[in-house]
């Protein structure tokens, strides 16, 4: 019964979404409905989601999706997470997140004009209706299976991990969050009111969505690092790129919104970015969910899902762009500015971030296009992305130091030079000297460390120069320091990581980067749904014990899948990473990989700082003041 209840609530949610997406545009009198419709819809989708989780928890294998993604031996928390471990469930999660954002907009929009709220929620209703229809007609999570299997096929062992429990919800909160920015942009285009107020309204929403996306990507990368077992943290895989493109454009959007709010400039550009950011979120969903990445040809054979998302994409983004084209003349250019000004610097930031997103786009989609056309089969490796990213991002990082210190409208170049000369001298000196101190000089390490030091020093300067500190400024400083930490992590790992593949027997040792790893042999251990060979490795440095590490080689019983479960000893300045390979013979000789990864945790630490900065900035006083003022006015009117 419960799965049918879920099914019915989804159908009802679709009906409500359709009403919410059409009625407020048909008759102004129905605008008041938008808020309650949004909340009702969110409630219905949440109910459906609850039903699916219930089916997982109670091991209801008569539901096909549960049978394919769970097993009665699976621990409870992974059964819950299994609800979004496959295609159908992830879509339901997508819709749930959209519901959360919609009800948040309906609850925290008391300070906005009623017609604006109705339009924003109306646009979001259209988006939601599209996805609910997609789910109900092509990927129904509640489909029954007959005959009912005795047990399920189990969740993919790679997904049985705490990181996987929170990665998709975070990522989807980010993806879907850009629909708010999109809805605000489209609503503003419809009404023709694109002003500083519009930018102020959509800014905190965009920032919060960006925070979730940042966290989602960081968690996914950390998950790949410790769960895939071989120590890589970013592969430039199309699935990763699909989330990275909206992040780059989202970052550009945050900065461009700042200019629009403060100076009224960049209006058309900001609107365009808002549409593109959500467009790339949809494209990411399309790439991952249509199966086009697995095989272009499989997609051509069974195109139902892909064509549906593609149609939705064309409708939502094409429609918004058409609207944009018809309204640009009315948007106006906004405030004027000189070539040397904070506006120009932020414009350069936007150009660079957009160019970066463009390069990822090219590298991700070109092989697909070539394959689809039948011209040949190619792939674009990490080398391409690395070769392109350094020269595009290096100037962006340099300008990051200048931007916050430059005046709006018109800045003086000599004044900036005087202000920044010491910061520049110190960072260049650090970049030249530090690599020597670390053992080996390399130009890329020097460049990376120079830029990181530059960002830190200029951030400190920005505090000395400003009289009044706002949360927005603290947030920006935190996020920029996060970028610096991230750059340090990437630079150090790329520059100084080392590894060794060895064949090893009990009692033998291997030395790497000053650490001695002694292999003490392998024992058998049993988990709830797997058995494992577990190695014991004692690590010492200069004769002093550091830690004992226990990497495993697991065999998951249901799917008979082998999993390398690495063991990591984390540290502020380095991670030690060991993974157990195949047994090489019957006498206890094993293949072992040991890795030394300097500063690798700074990569994710930096992402956390960026996200934290975003949260602090989004809680800035002026957004809350706007809410309070509006409430005060209402009280006065009532009195």
């Amino acid at each position: 019964m419960i799965p049918e209840l879920g099914q019915v609530s989804l159908a009802l949610a679709l009906a409500v979404a359709l009403a919410q997406g059409t009625l407020p545009f048909v008759n102004p009198a129905w605008r008041g409905l938008a808020r309650s419709a949004a909340q009702a819809q969110a409630g219905l989708v949440a109910l459906a989601f609850g039903c699916l989780v219930y089916a997982f928890v109670t091991n209801d294998f008569s539901v096909q999706y549960v049978a394919l993604n769970s097993n009665s031996a699976l621990p409870l928390h992974y059964r819950v997470a299994g609800a979004w471990g496959g295609h159908e469930g992830s879509l339901l999660l997508w819709c749930l997140m959209l519901g959360v954002w919609m009800s948040a907009v309906s609850l925290f929009s008391a300070h906005l004009p009623e017609d604006m709220v109705a339009r924003v929620l109306g646009v979001m209703g259209v988006v939601s209706a599209g996805f609910l229809a997609f789910m109900l007609f092509t990927s129904n999570p509640f489909e029954r299976l007959f005959p009912v299997p005795a047990n399920g096929r189990d969740l993919n062992p790679l997904l049985q991990d705490p990181g996987m429990v929170i990665h998709p919800p975070m990522l989807y909160m980010g993806y879907v969050g850009f629909s708010v920015a999109y809805a605000f942009a489209v609503a503003a285009l419809i009404s023709g009111r694109l002003d500083a107020a519009w930018a102020r309204w959509s800014r905190p929403w965009t920032t919060v969505a960006w925070v979730f996306l940042t966290l989602g990507i960081a968690i996914g990368s950390a998950w790949a690092y410790y769960e895939l077992g071989w120590g890589g943290w970013w592969f430039w895989d199309p699935v990763e790129n699909a989330s990275f493109m909206p992040w780059l454009i989202g970052t550009a959007l945050i900065h461009s919104l700042a200019v629009t709010e403060k100076r009224g400039a960049f209006r058309s550009w900001t609107v365009l970015l808002a549409i593109v950011a959500f467009g790339l979120s949809l494209l990411g969903t399309f790439l991952v969910r249509s199966g086009v990445l697995t095989s272009v040809h499989a997609f051509a054979v069974d195109p139902e899902r892909g064509v549906f998302i593609l149609g939705l994409f064309v409708f939502l983004i094409g429609g918004a762009l058409a609207l944009y084209a018809s309204r640009t003349s009315r948007i106006g250019l906004g405030g004027d500015f000189e070539p040397v000004s904070r506006e120009s610097l932020l414009l350069a930031n936007n150009v660079l971030l957009t160019a970066a997103a463009g390069t990822v786009f090219l590298g991700t989609l070109y092989p697909l296009v070539i394959d689809a056309l039948g011209v040949g089969k190619i792939s674009v490796g990490p080398q391409y992305f690395e070769a392109v990213f350094v020269p595009v991002m290096a100037p962006a990082l340099f300008l990051m130091g200048v931007g916050p210190l430059a005046r709006w409208k018109r800045a003086s170049l000599p004044e900036l030079a005087v202000l920044l000369r010491w910061a520049l001298a110190i960072s260049v000196a650090l970049g030249l000297i530090l690599p020597f101190a670390l053992g080996r000089w390399s130009a890329l390490v020097g460049l990376g460390l120079t830029l990181a030091a530059w960002i830190v020093l200029t951030t400190i300067l920005s505090f000395k120069k400003r009289l009044r500190q706002t949360r927005a400024h603290y947030g920006m400083a935190l996020a920029h320091l996060g970028v610096a930490a991230f750059v340090v992590g990437v630079t150090m790992v790329k520059g100084y990581e080392s590894d060794a593949d060895v064949k090893i027997r009990a009692g033998e040792t291997v030395e790497l980067a000053g650490y001695v790893f002694r292999f003490d042999g392998v024992s058998r251990v049993a988990g709830p749904n797997y058995t494992a060979a577990q190695a014991r490795i004692e690590v010492t440095r200069n004769g002093k014990p550091v830690t004992v590490m226990r990497p495993e080689r697991r065999v998951y019983t249901v799917q008979e899948q082998i999993m390398t479960e690495a063991d990591i000893h984390p540290g502020l300045t380095r991670d030690l990473y060991v993974s157990l390979g195949d047994p090489l013979d019957a006498n206890g000789t094993w293949l072992l990989k040991v890795q030394h990864k300097p500063f690798v945790d700074w990569i994710w630490g930096g992402c956390l700082l960026m996200a934290l900065g975003g949260l602090v900035a989004a809680s800035d006083r002026r957004y809350r003041v706007a809410i309070r003022q509006r409430k005060d006015q209402e009280v006065k009117v009532a009195a």
Partner: protein, 136 residues
């Protein structure tokens, strides 16, 4: 105006960089039959795909040797280190590396995918192509 000019210059430089890096780092795919017919370049990185021949996997200490086949032609491959978890005899595989003068493919990367039932599309393609020529 200057800002726009600056933006255009930056965009131009970025485009040039991208196209150069793109050209240099495109990795082409060849089937074992194509490699056997000497269509693959020597000394340049490319990808090869097909099935891991049953019984061909041999460990030599840290090195591992196996044979990639598209059912028509066999190409020997050598790789250093641990193989990905989903690597099995008789299953699809894609490897990236260079072809040595001795005709042995030196893989620097053996690609692992996330699903046991999943055949890497490139590997499936190689087998299909070989089947076509065999039928002829």
């Amino acid at each position: 105006m200057a800002a726009i000019a600056l933006g255009l210059v930056a965009l131009g430089i970025a485009t040039a960089l991208v196209l150069m890096a793109f050209e240099k780092n495109l990795v082409f795919f060849f089937t074992p039959s194509q490699v056997a017919a000497k269509e693959a370049p020597q000394g340049r990185t490319f990808r090869i795909g097909g099935m891991v021949l049953e019984g061909s996997v041999k460990r030599e200490g840290v090195d591992v040797r196996f044979v990639v086949t598209d059912t028509a032609k066999h190409i020997p491959v050598v790789y250093r280190g641990a193989l990905p978890d989903l690597f099995r005899e008789g299953k699809g595989v894609v490897a990236q590396g260079e072809l040595g003068a001795d005709g042995v493919f030196r893989a620097r990367e053996v690609l692992a995918k996330h699903d046991e039932n999943y055949m890497p599309p490139d590997a499936a393609h190689a087998v299909q192509e070989a089947q076509k020529t065999l039928v002829k």
